[in-house]
């Protein structure tokens, strides 16, 4: 459909450049996930799989295309949901003399389709531009993200995600904080909320050459506050199926397999609320991915 147009848009930053094949790098990733709900009146379990392919030209910019499928198994009496998502992202890096460090302009496009009979979560589209800055020593990061999502049945969602990241301990640790400020155009379609606020923090620690059990790095994430219909810039995903998310904690470990591939495993626990049913419930989930570069 619009894929050619999206590709052309993302390529626009490279127009006029002579592109050498050896100056491109490719990254591929495949993932699978699963989780079980506890205490939910409607949901039983969730699973999914996906793949992304990224191509970057030197340090000038790049493109990412992601495809994923997910399934929500509902309790008896409710219809299961099968969903397909397409994620396209283009980025351009700039190093202007007027600003120390690196500036990155990024644009993400999301398209989500499923078989939700109410169509409330079907045919979702979102665009999400972002401006990011990385300091010359690469130890300080800031970005300002914006996302606009369109849902069927009279709902538009606007999201702002200011982000701050800081390297610690000579680069062995990285802390990142991201605020999610989300406004909904129609509270009746958003768990009775017209706005939500959540703060997400992520910590990454890289080990030296001999990490425990061969680990390259470990990560921990914590989400406080609440958010609905969030667009996640790191995950490249839209939370169109979730009820109000009221917290999350996850831990992860990454193993390098030689110089060019790695495996990432995440275990997490999330808290949700369905305001319509006054139903609080939790989700225990796992995620595993393999990524390689060429």
């Amino acid at each position: 459909m619009k894929m050619n147009a999206l590709f052309a848009l993302a390529c626009a930053g490279f127009s006029g450049q002579v592109l050498a094949v050896g100056d491109w790098s490719l990254n591929g990733e495949m993932n699978a996930s699963g989780g079980t709900y506890s205490g939910s009146q409607l949901r039983d379990r969730v699973s999914g799989y996906g793949a992304t392919l990224s191509a970057d030209y030197l340090e000038r910019g790049g493109l990412t295309l992601g495809l994923s499928r997910s399934f929500v198994k509902m309790k008896p009496g409710s219809n299961d949901i099968k969903q397909s998502s397409v994620f396209t992202s283009g980025r351009m890096h700039l190093t202007p003399d007027s600003l120390p460090g690196r500036l990155t302009l990024r644009l993400d496009l999301h398209k989500v389709d499923n078989d939700d009979v109410s169509r409330d979560t079907d045919e979702v589209s979102a665009y999400a531009p972002q401006v990011a800055w990385l300091s010359p020593d690469r130890q300080t990061y800031m970005d300002l993200g914006y996302a606009k999502s369109r849902y069927q049945n009279n709902l538009k969602v606007t999201q702002y995600t200011p982000t701050f990241g800081k390297g610690l301990n000579d680069g062995a640790d990285w802390m990142q904080f991201r605020a999610y400020l989300i406004d909904m155009s129609n509270a009746a379609r958003a768990q009775g909320k017209s706005a939500t606020f959540a703060l997400e923090s992520k910590w990454t620690h890289w080990f030296g050459p001999k990490g425990p059990i061969g680990l390259d790095n470990v990560r921990a994430g914590l989400l406080l506050g609440s958010r609905v219909y969030a667009v996640d810039p790191d995950g490249g995903s839209v939370s169109n199926l979730a009820d109000s998310q009221r917290g999350d904690f996850n831990v992860a470990g990454e193993w390098k397999l030689g110089q060019s591939s790695s495996i990432l495993a995440i275990l997490g626990h999330g808290r949700f609320r369905n305001a319509t049913l006054s139903n609080d419930y939790t989700l225990n989930y796992g995620y595993v991915s393999w990524s390689g570069k060429w």
Binding site: A20, G22, D23, S25, L58, E59, R60, T95, P96, D97, R102, P136, R138, G208, P209, K210, G258, Q259
Partner: protein, 197 residues
């Protein structure tokens, strides 16, 4: 009156000299005075002439001196457009790219120099720096090992070999490489500290 004539005579050689100063001389004089912008502007009359690529490379160097790294890259690239065979322009453009930490671009230009001049020392050492910055340890170790075979008296390649082994957790190989550094540079601080551990 005599004084006026004397002054006029003394001034003559100076004014004559100034009138004969070429664009190149003026540029080098201004660079020596740390007037880098003016030194670049002085080259404007010659940056379309026979030595246009040289003038553009000098403008790149002068922009680099002013920490105008983006401008420096642009000037070196213009020099390359004028003279695609120029190894000097490829060497030059790596400096501002390194300052901007655009390591993949540094590596790309270094490989282009190496493709034309297989064991160019400057290109190889800059490629080592880029490989280290990109944490490409296996590539760095293999590259540093090969470079040290071609430059057996050089300590730099061995330092990168040692670092790569240290990062890969190969302590014995790292220590061996640092000992080889100390055989060539007995006071080397990094090598001494590692060997003493």
């Amino acid at each position: 009156m005599k004084r006026t004539i004397l002054l006029a005579l003394l001034a003559f050689p100076l004014t004559s000299l100034a009138a004969e100063e070429s664009a190149w001389q003026k540029s080098y004089r201004l660079e020596y005075q740390q007037k880098f912008s003016e030194a670049a502007i002085a080259l404007n009359p010659v940056d379309n002439g026979r030595d246009a690529d040289l003038a553009l490379m000098r403008k790149g160097w002068l922009a680099y001196q002013r920490a105008r790294y983006g401008e420096a890259v642009e000037m070196y690239q213009k020099a390359l457009e004028k003279n695609p065979a120029s190894l000097e322009a490829r060497q030059g453009v790596m400096l501002p790219l390194m300052a901007q930490q655009r390591w993949r671009e540094v590596a790309s230009y270094a490989r282009k120099v190496i493709a034309d001049s297989a064991w160019d020392y400057t290109a190889h050492t800059r490629l080592l720096v880029a490989e280290e910055a990109m944490r490409d340890w296996a590539t760095l170790a293999a590259h540093a090992e090969r470079l040290s075979e071609h430059y057996p008296g050089d300590a730099t390649a061995l330092v990168y070999l040692a670092r790569a082994h240290a990062w890969m957790g190969n302590g014995k190989e790292a220590k061996d490489a640092y000992n080889r550094v100390l055989a060539r540079y007995p006071g080397h601080i990094e090598a001494s500290q590692y060997v003493a551990k």
